[in-house]
């Protein structure tokens, strides 16, 4: 299960602040939505369902971009847990 690290603050506008390092980041709308869903405790299937209902996207493309995005969050040290649920 993925988890946003404790020391990370996320604003509603997509601004991300890492209190441990002082780094800040910005998310685009879809990035912010995914992070919020992860924060709510949704697993991949949960996130996928929200996106399929709301956006013009097929499951395969979504999976590709989702995994890439999550890997980037990891690369930036914002997330813990493994990429696969």
């Amino acid at each position: 299960m993925l988890k946003i690290k404790n020391n990370i603050a996320i604003s509603d506008s997509g601004f991300v602040f890492d209190a441990r390092t002082g780094d800040s980041f910005t998310l685009n709308t879809t990035g912010l939505e995914i992070v919020q869903l992860i924060k709510e405790g949704k697993d991949y299937q949960g996130v996928l369902q929200v996106f399929l209902d709301k956006y013009e996207v097929d499951p395969e493309s979504f999976e590709r971009y989702y995994l890439d995005f999550v890997a980037t969050l990891k690369h930036m040290n914002l997330i813990e847990g493994n990429g696969e649920d």
């Binding site: 980041f25 910005t26 013009e56 890439d68 690369h75």
Partner: protein
């Protein structure tokens, strides 16, 4: 309920306080149409990638350049630099507008002839003219610009052998404050070589010296360099008239005006830094008019402008193949046109736009072509919208040198279309095929078969 367009999710580091090394971020407006023609439909009809040339823009640019010079000088003649783009449809637009042809090889010379340009309106430049080329050019009364002494002597011999009076001009290189000096071409002004060459031509008595030529370089941003060059050629013309009583027919200032492309790594965009045709025209014509050439003997001013006349009219449109994350987290976008088609990406930070509407969101990405080579970088780190596989892009200002310097490498060179004055597409160069390539090859008998 209709669903929303999906944008790739991204996260980017904010470098607060640090000025972006890419200058002021600017929104990249999508370009969906060229001259009213939908890029997406063009790609559907003619395949991806696709070169698109705008007849409207070519004519408009030419007329602007012509007006800039002809409103300042009594006798102006453009000569289309074939090497810049020798697709016949392109050349013929310039010829329809009144431009002569400027060629630098036997191949280009024949191309101009086949396009119907009269021999006496072809300027033959360059260091590589074979004896056959020279003979043909002499018998056609073409304007032969002599590049070196070996060629000068060849032409003198030919004039006697053929009993003709070749029409020649001397190509002059000079110091105009642009370095390195292109002193590989022509005869040097400062060390007196150009004057020697002129004297040698006059002494031959069998050549008609009708012009002086210089081409000081390419993508020149300094108008002052042209003023100096015009002054130096004018001073040779004055000396010539004084010594031999000969008034030259023309002074040819070559090409070299910068187009509005941005040089790689330049801080300010070319749209801000490139002088206008009026600026160049002012420098050149004032250089000539303020010289000591007698006003009633002012020679025709010939211009061989290349890139500044055609860059703007060319577009390269295509499709995103993939997006990737590099090992260090940087983003990469792979597109279906590489440096094989866009040779100028070695010089320019090309203006690349999305075709479809995108959000304001951008990310730092590098655009790679599809070649399996590390050098295949179409655009290094730029802030680019979040294109996805299958989305389309269009690259602006690719009209100069790409359709002549493109390479056939691992795939075919694509279709080229010209949009006419109404925006209607015409195929002007067919995509290559396996037959195009294979038709040039021969397989020796013993290599025809194999058993695997």
């Amino acid at each position: 309920m209709s669903k929303l367009t999906f944008e790739r999710p991204i996260i980017q580091r904010v470098n607060a306080g640090l000025p972006s090394k890419y200058g002021i971020p600017r929104r990249l407006e999508p370009i969906s149409h060229i001259d009213g023609s939908s890029i997406r439909s063009l790609l559907e009809e003619f395949g991806s990638p696709l070169f698109v040339l705008s007849e409207q823009t070519i004519r408009k640019t030419y007329r602007e350049a012509y007006r800039a010079f002809s409103s300042r000088y009594p006798n102006v003649q453009f000569s289309w630099s074939y090497k810049t783009n020798y697709l016949n449809a392109v050349c013929n637009i310039f010829h329809q507008e009144g431009a002569w042809a400027e060629v630098v090889s036997g191949f280009e010379y024949h191309k101009a002839l086949e396009n119907g340009v009269p021999g006496e309106l072809i300027i033959f430049n360059g260091p590589d003219k074979s004896i056959e080329d020279l003979k043909l050019a002499i018998s056609n009364n073409s304007l032969i610009h002599i590049d070196h002494f070996d060629e000068l002597y060849d032409i003198i011999h030919l004039s006697r052998e053929m009993n003709e009076r070749p029409k020649v001009a001397i190509r002059v290189n000079m110091d105009v404050g642009i370095y390195p000096i292109w002193d590989r071409f022509g005869f040097n002004y400062e060390n007196g070589e150009a004057w020697d060459a002129i004297n040698r031509v006059m002494a031959s008595k069998t050549l008609d010296l009708i012009g002086l030529h210089t081409h000081i370089g390419t993508y020149i941003l300094s108008t002052e360099a042209y003023r100096i060059a015009a002054g130096k050629l004018a001073s040779l013309a004055v000396k010539l008239e004084k010594k031999y009583g000969l008034a030259l027919k023309y002074i040819d200032m070559g090409g070299g005006f910068a187009s509005k492309n941005t040089l790689r790594g330049a801080y300010y965009p070319g749209t801000d830094t490139a002088p206008s045709f009026d600026d160049f025209a002012e420098a050149i014509t004032s250089g000539l008019m303020s010289s000591e050439i007698k006003p009633d003997h002012l020679p025709m001013l010939v211009l061989e402008t290349g890139r500044a006349l055609i860059d703007e009219a060319g577009y390269l449109a295509g499709t995103v193949l993939a997006t990737k994350r590099l090992s260090d987290g940087r983003r990469a976008t792979i597109i279906d046109a590489g440096v094989n088609l866009l040779f100028t990406s070695f010089w320019y930070d090309h203006d690349i736009r999305p075709v479809e509407i995108v959000s304001d969101q951008t990310e730092d990405t590098t655009l790679y072509g599809p070649l399996c080579m590390n050098i295949d970088v179409v655009r290094g780190n730029l802030m680019f919208p979040l294109l996805k596989k299958g989305d389309h892009y269009v690259i602006r200002r690719v009209g100069a040198y790409n359709n002549t310097q493109w390479l056939q490498f691992i795939t075919f060179r694509p279709n080229v279309v010209m949009l006419d004055m109404k925006g209607k597409p015409h195929l002007i160069r067919r995509r290559e095929s396996l037959e195009t390539i294979n038709s040039q090859e021969e397989i020796p008998d013993h290599l025809k078969n194999f058993n695997l």
